[in-house]
């Protein structure tokens, strides 16, 4: 078993990993920027080191600084959390080169799945259905036009190095294709330093359903059910639930098997999520694979009775997976709401500031993952997430009711939060009926807020 782990992250996920380390008897080492000096991870880790100034580039993204601390603290392994360096293949390689275990897949696997066009090819070869589109990066306008005609408009131009919605354009008419290609390419070059784009059929009002997988270093891969993350705004998830209202047992098995095949195709190790897009006819297509632990992992933990972060530590230690596929039993329904310090009435502007009062809800089946406390100063340098509220109920309706109750009891004073928006969402009849697709919130935002 690992003896000491450095967490190359901050906020609630850093805290989450520290807690998993505590449970497993592993010593934790935190790194923090000057802005996070008084944060919980810095205060409760066994050791903590200041690695830079507030800007992520100068602290959490500074690979040499992180590795120097790892060297000094003599850690065995480094956990990258999510975001920051979690999917940086160079960082994964650098950790290994420097003699540390990287708690995640190899740099190679990250690279293969990080290049979206490459990932599509790998999946096609592994027999996993992908969204109809170009086989490779687009090299000419005539090629793009031909494929677009074949698969049918509307089409979606996506950046191969992309993420977070950048470098994407929806094209509904052939005339718009040329301009959209140019724009997407340029935006991608600016944001990611890579102008490569490819084309996919645009599945309108689809659902985003992802499968959690866990692999060990011996080729064993298991899927732990799905999560439905269709409740989004501008490609940012607001709410996630497990299981998905549109997935039945058979579909779960097919998607699960496809996800396992995807992981095996790249010799995956650790926690991963295979994202699928599900169309109106319940057909699913591979969208991308996230080679890290995800923000919404708690809902899977709640319905499967597992501790995914702890399992990551065990797998990284060289243990075999603690369960086989038949050991995974899913029970009940879990929902997670991401509470952000944002003004949802005015374009979701981030509202950093001092959290004067922080009183999270408590109770059976209620879990709050957060690093907040009363008197905490939310700085403007990082994302605006305050807390994740997760509930479990035996049925979806009971989970919804429990979440409403929990959010109503959640007292946060001093900053604006998105709690009221979530409460409205939970009462929205379409949401309750399980009918919300990925574009729903954007389209119906005004209605929802009435």
């Amino acid at each position: 078993m690992l003896k000491k782990v450095l967490i190359a992250n901050r906020g609630e996920i850093a805290l989450r990993v520290i807690k998993a380390c505590e449970l497993t008897g592993i010593k934790s080492v935190a790194v923090y920027s000057t802005a996070d000096k008084e944060s919980l991870p810095a205060l409760i880790a066994d050791e903590a080191y200041c690695i830079g100034s507030a800007q992520a580039k100068k602290s959490y993204l500074d690979i040499p600084s992180v590795l120097e601390v790892a060297r000094r603290a003599e850690v065995d392994a480094i956990h990258p959390g999510y975001g920051f360096l979690a999917e940086n293949a160079d960082f994964a390689d650098a950790c290994v080169n420097a003699g540390f275990i990287f708690i995640g897949p190899s740099g190679d696997a990250i690279r293969k799945m990080g290049d979206k066009a490459e990932a599509r090819k790998t999946m096609t070869n592994a027999g996993v259905p992908v969204v109809p589109g170009t086989k490779d990066l687009i090299t000419s306008l005539s090629e793009a036009k031909k494929v677009a005609e074949e698969i049918g408009y509307p089409v979606l131009i996506k950046a191969t190095a992309g993420g977070g919605g950048k470098g994407m354009r929806v094209v509904r008419k052939p005339d718009d294709l040329e301009k959209a290609l140019r724009q997407a390419s340029q935006e991608s070059e600016r944001s990611f330093g890579n102008s490569g784009v490819y084309l996919e059929k645009y599945l309108e009002d689809s659902r985003h359903v992802e499968i959690q997988i866990m692999a060990d270093n011996y080729g064993n891969v298991v899927y732990l059910g799905e999560r439905d993350c269709s409740t989004q705004r501008r490609h940012q998830k607001l709410l996630e639930e497990a299981p998905s209202p549109v997935v039945d047992h058979e579909m779960r098995q097919s998607m699960g098997k496809a996800a396992v095949a995807a992981a095996k195709a790249v010799h995956y190790s650790g926690a991963g999520t295979v994202e699928f897009i599900v169309d109106a006819h319940k057909k699913f297509y591979f969208m991308e694979m996230n080679t890290r632990i995800q923000v919404e992992h708690p809902v899977t933990e709640m319905i499967s009775g597992t501790d995914l972060v702890r399992t990551q530590l065990m797998v990284a230690s060289g243990d075999e997976l603690p369960w086989s596929q038949k050991d995974i039993k899913l029970k009940g329904w879990a929902i997670e709401c991401r509470i952000n310090a944002e003004d949802y009435k005015h374009g979701f502007m981030p509202c950093p500031g001092k959290v004067k009062v922080y009183l999270p809800p408590q109770g059976e089946g209620i879990r709050v993952d957060s690093c907040m406390f009363s008197g905490y100063d939310i700085t403007p340098f990082y994302d605006s997430m305050i807390a994740k509220v997760i509930v479990w109920g035996p049925t979806r309706l009971e989970a919804i009711n429990k979440m409403k109750g929990a959010l109503k009891k959640f007292r946060i004073e001093g900053v604006k939060t998105t709690i009221p928006l979530h409460l409205r969402l939970l009462e929205n009849p379409d949401f309750v009926a399980g009918k919300v697709g990925t574009t729903y919130v954007e389209k119906h935002l005004e209605e929802i807020l009435q």
Partner: protein, 142 residues
């Protein structure tokens, strides 16, 4: 309380974003940044910017400032093992005098004093690991 470094980082973040006005209020300070203008307005009489903590002033004209580590790394007092140290107690330094080397991931960075004055104390030993912001030298300056 924001340090000068944090204000600089904030300015860079706002500059790179799509926002034109940025307001930040806490109990102790209030900061407004407007893009496209040359003014930065702060409205708090008690706002002080401390980037180099000052310990005790020696006299009215002199004070002690600290040279702090601008990054994480291993501290070396000379350019090579066995070579003469860059500075000793009593050495006079200018802003661009090299005072030590910090090593991280096998790259060695020469650290400049960024203040002028006389070294009165060396706070770390050769080979010590230092964190970002850790005080390395005390300099008596005017």
């Amino acid at each position: 309380m924001l340090t000068l470094d944090e204000i600089k980082d904030l300015m860079q973040s706002v500059d790179a974003s799509g926002f034109t006005t940025f307001k930040y209020n806490t109990e102790d300070c209030s900061l407004v940044l407007k893009k496209g203008t040359t003014s930065v307005v702060t409205t708090s009489p008690s706002l002080t910017i401390a980037d180099k903590p000052i310990s005790k002033p020696a006299t009215d004209e002199e004070r002690i400032v600290e040279i702090t580590a601008p990054s994480v790394g291993t501290f070396y007092k000379s350019s090579e093992p066995g070579a003469e140290a860059f500075v000793e107690v009593g050495s006079v330094v200018k802003e661009n005098t090299i005072v030590c080397i910090l090593e991280a991931m096998k790259l060695f960075t020469e650290i400049e004093a960024e203040v002028s004055g006389e070294i009165v104390e060396i706070l770390v030993k050769d080979g010590d690991f230092v964190e970002y912001g850790q005080p390395l030298f005390k300099v008596k300056t005017k």
